[in-house]
């Protein structure tokens, strides 16, 4: 039974051949192909492949304040060695791992929960859907400023501290005191607020594809609606969407940069790899060789983790019939 959320539509940009052209008009097809693919390919070359290759090239040079180092500045694998020996870089990987450990399951569970609830709501359905989806349209920078300055600032008139005040509790410096690490609360709630709505919509779409007959059949067989049907019908039917969502959440977590740099800046205790590399290769440090080495190490780690996750969870497998 085909109930996965995989769409049948071809990828935009590949320009699949429209009605078969007459032989004499084959060049038209070729032209159409390049017409569609060309801009995309050019963008990919200019913004992805060339910079990646350039970055790889830079990573073998002592390249400070320059993207065109001289030949005598070749240092072989020194930058990689320095990066691997760099405690701050290794710590940043740990920070990221903690972040992912919080945010991936939480986002997954909350967006699935929201989707299940909204799927049953009959009243003002469109309204609720929009309400939960809207934060996704907000930029991380704007949300970070709201979180940092209004909700979680450390003084008496911050929203969170005002609430604590009501219960007679002391003000908490949410972001800048790592013991206890309240800053995780700020960072994780921000990301949940922004991205839950999006994954919720994906889950709703998948939920609506589960045929009603399955539930009816289960009911006839004596399964109680609720926990039993959730574990034995809803969840298995969601499997392919769920795997894809999980992967998207993880990749989005790897991109964590905006909220960290806007909320906390360059602090050893909460500095994911991208923030660290940003300060290494940009900012005043301008060590582009070292930064490039770090970027490539990170890219490699991301590739390996993503592939491994895909392998383990069976991402992209077609459904057994």
């Amino acid at each position: 039974m085909a109930v996965s959320a995989e769409p049948a539509a071809p990828e935009a940009g590949t320009g699949g051949p429209a009605p078969r052209p007459p032989r004499s008009g084959r060049w038209r097809t070729t032209l159409a192909f390049w017409y569609f693919v060309g801009p995309f390919l050019a963008g990919l070359m200019i913004f992805t492949f060339i910079p990646v290759l350039w970055s790889a090239y830079l990573s073998f040079f002592e390249a400070r304040n320059t993207v065109t180092p001289a030949a005598e500045d070749y240092v072989g694998f020194d930058n990689y060695v320095r990066m691997f020996q760099d405690d701050a870089f290794r710590d940043s990987l740990v920070t990221f791992t903690v972040f992912a450990a919080f945010v991936v399951p939480l986002t997954f569970a909350s967006s699935l929960g929201l989707a299940l609830m909204l799927n049953r709501v009959r009243l003002a359905r469109a309204f609720f859907r929009s309400v939960f989806f809207l934060p996704f349209a907000c930029s991380y920078v704007v949300a970070s400023l709201v979180w940092k300055m209004s909700i979680f600032n450390g003084v008496r008139y911050g929203m969170a501290n005002s609430i604590l005040d009501l219960f007679g509790l002391e003000d908490v410096p949410w972001l800048f005191d790592p013991s206890p690490p309240w800053y995780w609360l700020v960072i994780v709630t921000l990301r949940l607020w922004i991205q839950c709505g999006f994954y919720m919509i994906l889950f709703i779409a998948a939920l609506q594809q589960i045929p009603e007959q399955l539930y009816e059949a289960a009911y006839v067989d004596g399964a109680k609606p609720g926990r039993q049907t959730f574990w034995h019908i809803t969840l298995p039917q969601l499997r392919f969407s769920a795997v894809a969502v999980l992967m998207l959440i993880l990749i989005a977590a790897y991109q964590a940069f905006d909220e960290f740099i806007n909320l906390i800046g360059n602090q050893a205790y909460a500095r994911p790899p991208l923030v660290y590399l940003y300060y290494t290769s940009l900012g005043t440090q301008q060590d582009l060789g070292l930064g490039s080495a770090g970027a490539l190490i990170l890219a490699l780690i991301i590739a390996i983790v993503t592939l491994a996750q895909g392998k383990i969870l069976g991402f992209g497998k077609t459904e057994e019939r």
């Binding site: 992805t48 994954y199 990749i251 360059n266």
Partner: protein
Amino acid sequence: MVASGNTRFSKNALAATALNRRRMLALGGLTAGAGALAACGSNTGRGDGDGVNLSQWYHQYGEAGTQQAAEKYAAAYEDANVTINWVPGDYDTALSSGLLAGEGEAPDVFESHLNRSMVESGQVVALDDLYEGVLDDFTEGDLARNTIDGKLYGIRMIDDPQFLYYRPSLLEAKGVEPPTTFEDLMAGSAELTTGDVKGLFLGNDDSATKLFQPIVFSAGQTLLTEDNQIGFDKDAVIAGALQVKELHESGSLLIGAPTEAWDPTSIIQELCAIQWCGLWAMPQIIEAHGEDVAIIPFPGFGGGTPTVFNGGWSTFVNAKSPHVEEAKAFTKWLWIDHEEFIQDWCLSYGFHIPPRLSMRESAEALADGPAAEAVRISEEYGWAENPNWTPTMETAVDDMMTNIVLEGNDPEAEFDNAVGTIQTELDSIFG
């Protein structure tokens, strides 16, 4: 953003997002540079007259009227069309990218802080000849911070000492004397802390890190010695860091204020009794609290002397500019010869100490009250940046301070680690 519009779960879509990721990483320099440039394009509308066009870059000064003043000076210069680029936000990043950019987008003249890598990568030209006849009129510190290997690369524009502001009335009410030692500062801050007002504000994200240099200079040590060896020792640093830790655990620090410490809002809004800030904010603080404002240098650690960080800005000429000579001539005209502009820049908006000793004496605004005290303590206790102290070294000690003070890690291990990083950096530069 990975998720936007990406509702298909095909492998291609996934591959595209993975590439996005890599693109974001690898392209950092290029896209951020372009973005920064695009974001900070601003000009005075001039630049189409005769002669040479020069671009001059400033970071965004907070004081009202500064941008207009910069434009006024530029307009008064007759030998070239000078366009001002007034850069809001992260100036260091914008400038770094700007200096890598090609002709027409790069600054010809810019303000910054000298760093050895700027010289080694050929970004700035030596300006020794511009100093002719006025060399003695600058402080030693201002010359040293602009010197690499015996050559002067920058001209000091303003000196901005940083120290502690306090409200004498609040201290008197609690019977607290203005602190002269770090122990006094801790005790005083605790005494001054009430439910609504914290005793001391040093900064949100740098309340631990910014005290590393006061610890070192208070002990009569330095960051790097003359021959570029590490100039501070383990015992002094660890003892100081542990005291800073004690301060952080006392609950008398304001942490998480709406603005950072370079902005005087916290002391103005009475969120704290004592605040670390700079001379530039003095007019605002005096406007808010009138006579009830006084300053002290940062108290000494472990029986050492008090300290004052002499910050500020210097101006440079881009070595890759197509008009180096014209840019040098403009720089000399504005920052050496035109004394009324220098005076105006330093004293008409926020307060800054003019870098020229001869101007300090005649500056009425700095003649009495807290401003005069600021000049005095800056000269007596001040230290300046060392252009050989790189951002990597600063990050190493910042992390050490954060890890000791906020995370409670083993001080010895953290110190050894930081020193290791600094030594690696020294070896790669001087080795």
